[in-house]
Amino acid sequence: MNPTRRRARAGRWFIAPNLAAVAVFMAFPLAFSLYMSVQRWDLFSPPTFVGAANFRDLLTDDPLFGIAVRNTTVFTVGTVVPTVLISLAVAGLLNRTIRGIGLFRAIAFLPLAVSSVVIAVVWQFVLNTDSGLLNIMLGWFGITPVPWLTEPHWAMASLCLVSVWKSVPFATVILLAAMQGVPESLHEAARIDGAGEVRRFVSITVPMVRGALWFVVVISVINAFQAFDLVYVLTGSSGGPETGTYVLAIMLFQHAFAFLDFGYASALAWVMFAVLLTLTIVQLRLSRRNAMDQ
């Protein structure tokens, strides 16, 4: 066998286990999920074909769907916008070589290593109405305790707060890396042109990291849209006080694993997929047009 054939054969063997795993655990589920979305199935009785009924019920007949969509949208916007703004500022602050900067960076990135579960439990303590740190501090200023996790609107606000706290380090890592790629000579030229530090940040640094910014936005939207761990542990498995934090991922979990309505849940999953795909494509289009000069 000639060498090329031998290498090709080795190639096939090398990818075989990996390919098998991807096929079994990714490709097959993808197809099977689509199949399930047009069935009614609860695992114990055989599935019955219902065509587009699941989708119809979901989109027109289910009040909870509307609530979940609204909550997910509020949560996504309420997470992504502050995350982007804050992480821009933090990255700008961390983008210098003064003494001790390494330590500050290490601390700022620390939340990356912490799991959503631990974050949620810890913040539950911080946000506790009677004994949480936040209400204690507000008490110093004479403000009455806020029902952070017990009142629906505040619960959503708290969820966004915690989600931002968790997402900023991640976004900062990416933005900082991009900022460090901006050539020093550009900053020097801007200094000679008379631009102060803030001016340089706004007119030079931020435009130069546009690509990374869009990337952060896209990834943050994808993550926020599907957020589950944080919501479940912070505000409970039924979507918080009076469905205040009832987001799409919770709805999916409920229908699939509490009600065992797999067909319906699969239909929901595909609707989420479609929305997410559209959002991502739109964002990519926008970013391409915006960053055409980079």
């Binding site: 550009l186 020097e188 030229a189 000679i192 042109d193 008379g194 007119s203 435009p207 000069d293």
Partner: protein, 354 residues
Amino acid sequence: MASVTFDSVTRRYPGADRPALDALNLSIDDGEFMVLVGPSGCGKTTTLRMLAGLEPVDAGRIHIGSTDVTETDPGARDLAMVFQNYALYPHMTVAQNMGFALKVAKVPKAEIRTRVLEAAQLLGLQAHLQRRPKDLSGGERQRVAMGRAIVRRPQVFLMDEPLSNLDAMLRVQTRNQIAELQRRLGITTVYVTHDQVEAMTMGDRVAVLRDGVLQQCAPPRELYRKPANVFVAGFIGSPAMNLFTVPVVDGAVSVGGYALALPPEISAAAAELTVGIRPEQLQIADRGIGVEVEFVEELGADTYLYGRTVDRPAPQSVVARVPGGTEIQRRSRLSLHLDAADLHFFTTDGARLG
């Protein structure tokens, strides 16, 4: 008044054994084109950057006009700089690049437009104003960098090897354009280069630096005719000046078997000298320095001879430039004649005598 004065300016990088710039004293007149030249590491770029405010000054003061700018922010010094790699803002158009500093200074939009157009016309950039740097050629980008500096009408222009990224032909063309532009605008210019041809052709005066120390600052002609030390003598002029280290015997020195009489004040000064003569000042004749030719480069208009003197036991290298067309064989022996007035004398430490 936009003169520039360096007063014992020193810069030492942490951990370095010698200062990058050691007590530089230099004064540049208003409207003068001053070239800083020297091999890499000599401190010329450091000097420029200290003048720009991009490097801190460890000792000494810098003045622009009568104002002490040693502690001033770069943006407040009223100077403009052309960087070696141009440092154009990639996300802005040519017009925006050129107008940026004016925008920062809150100059009214109409005036920005006028001044940008004016500079663009001066440099032939009118057609490119709405384009982005990535769509321009190297030469065009260089002109935009110049335009950005001109638009500001600063007190001083700083240029950091602006021609080094251009190809050879473009370099000659642009060299002349820059010199012409500076003459027209009359703005004090400090220009850094490692190329002594640029230095000689562009500067009103040239400051030669080596290892952080100023060797000589003089008009090009004087650098050529009266180099202050051996380093300057060897740096200026291409090919480099021939330098022979010889003992003084009876008021004369002998190179390649040829006796050169010394003026009395020189022969009295030392027992050993370095004697210099430029390759272009040697001619083939019947009597002169005995040389054995090792190889010949024929360039058409000129021919360069590389060889060794016939001195034993230590022959010294010789380079001579003779008119093209002269037939020379390798391994032939010749005599090279010179005019005593063209000789340069240096002590063995390198300092000029006479």
